[in-house]
Symmetry: C2
Subunit: 316 residues, 2 copies
């Protein structure tokens, strides 16, 4: 076991640490979508999580793992959206400041939510380089502590608690699927499954148009994403190094899906389940519907990662 990988007791301690700052989200089923898929599907609804996304788990863990006296200068991060909201909200709960660097083309609904939680927003160019540079400037100026978006053991342990809850309520799943962007949720899920239900297979879904994890997984070498252009805006970032080490070791497969498959799956969830999910979050269902044979007759857990969409800009 790699000593940087969060252990089972790290994940358990994390779950206790954050329990008052997160919601225990429900697992929903849909007769008609299960029938459509030919499998028994269990949806872990992190779209109902605080700030509308699983990111609240990792951010709360990162921030509350610091001692109160270490939190006084606030926290800083860069994010295209949900992590930004999560850091803003967690900092508010910790009664300290949040500085959030956001690309100027981030969805409006996410920008106004971050502002709504009282964070200070600093806009940057929509490149990973400019995000990091701008964030470093802020940290230097304010003494704020950096909250990494995904490539970090505390973040991974936080995101792992979603799968832990899913497994506790549905311990006999054959598969658990998550989308993969930076890989915090993917790595956390893979670790939780490995510790708690090692016979369950973890499969990651990724947009064809941001397929860095797919290429990295197939080649065994970490590869970055070049000019990602997908409706699944939460999955545009490249997978983190630590996350990829965990994914390489504990994930069964990475499957890519087209933009049309993502939008179709998103629409199915909205129409049949009457819940709002964002495009990133439709990717795992798109994987199940693309490869029905693989999942036929099996029990499949899907982590619905978030519900923050710009209602004025829907793909329907």
């Amino acid at each position: 076991m790699n000593e940087k990988f969060p252990s089972l007791s790290d994940i358990k301690r994390t779950h206790q640490r954050i329990q008052n700052y997160i919601l225990h989200t429900p697992i929903l089923t849909s007769h008609s979508i299960s029938e459509m898929a030919g499998a028994e599907l269990f949806f872990k609804c992190e779209n109902f999580q605080k700030v509308g996304a699983f990111k609240m788990r990792g951010a709360a863990n990162a921030i509350f793992s610091y001692r109160p006296e270490e939190r006084v200068n606030g926290f800083a991060t860069h994010s295209s959206g949900n992590h930004a909201q999560a850091v803003a909200m967690a900092a508010k709960l910790a009664e300290t400041k949040a500085y959030v660097v956001m690309p100027k083309n981030a969805p409006k609904v996410k920008i106004s939510a971050v502002a709504g939680y009282g964070a200070e927003i600093i806009f940057c160019e929509p490149t990973e380089e400019d995000r990091v540079r701008t964030c470093n400037e802020i940290i230097e100026k304010t003494g704020a502590v950096f909250v990494p978006p995904f490539n970090d053991p505390q973040i991974i342990a936080g995101q792992a608690t979603a799968a832990k809850e899913l497994i506790e309520e549905a311990p006999d799943l054959d598969f658990i699927l998550t989308p993969v962007g930076g890989g915090g949720l993917a790595a956390g899920t893979a670790l939780a499954v490995n510790y708690l239900v090692p016979n369950t297979q973890v499969i990651l879904g990724e947009p064809e148009r941001a397929d860095d994890t797919f290429r990295s997984f197939k080649s065994g070498e970490l590869q970055g994403v070049k000019s990602p252009d997908t409706i699944a805006d939460g999955l545009k970032v490249s997978v983190g190094e630590l996350n990829f080490e965990i994914i390489k070791k504990y994930v069964t497969d990475v499957v890519t899906v087209s933009e049309k498959q993502i939008v179709d799956a998103m629409r199915i969830v909205w129409e049949r389940m009457k819940i709002v999910i964002e495009p990133s979050c439709a990717v795992p269902l798109a994987v199940v519907l693309k490869d029905k044979k693989r999942f036929s007759g099996r029990k499949v857990g899907i982590i619905l990662t978030g519900g923050n969409v710009d209602l004025g800009n829907l793909p329907f």
Copy 2:
């Protein structure tokens, strides 16, 4: 007590009769919407009901209150949408035929859902007269039994079970709000509240552009709606006579809201609660947000009536 009004034991018997054909829907709360309203709101989520609307309750009760040998020629109805789906689904569960007369301008998503449940659809002009005429022709030809959309004791008793469930889980509400179209849900709710928690006030919400119940309630005389033109397509019909008698007796007030207030409330629910509701169903929240003083600091139950929207034709 008017003997045509369903009694408490009618409603209890109804609830037992339909329990295997409906879902016991959850009550959700939203910290941010309650904060926005300055009241404690409890949303009874009938958008998660079978066929995506409370109408399943009344239709199931109407159909299953007939003996099996009375069901052989099937059932017929006319409806702009959710009642049509409910009759189609309930007839399917009763293993008999459904004939559904729908106005040719009904939302596509509702037409295809009705077809999906195996009903035979007969299109008519979008007027109440043509609906009734076409439906009578079908009944004459097939021997099918008519399932009235709302103005009927069995339908009212069925719809009353939504409020009954809400009251059983949240017995200390100061107010319960529903929208009012034909008035089946409104009357059923008013009766359930009168029998079970008579101190709770029932308030109905109605679009300004289809304000027949408002005018009837204020004048004491039943008045029809003329050329209703509202986004709340489920509320275009005029309130039924029997329903109005119940509403007049047991409802505290009827409040109208504008199209903008409806769309704003709908958007708030989608964005904050991450659930899909149809415009009709946003009307009661629009009432609460319009008249905050009245509900300030109180416990308010809202029946979210349905989630069948045409995603290709949203008002955002």
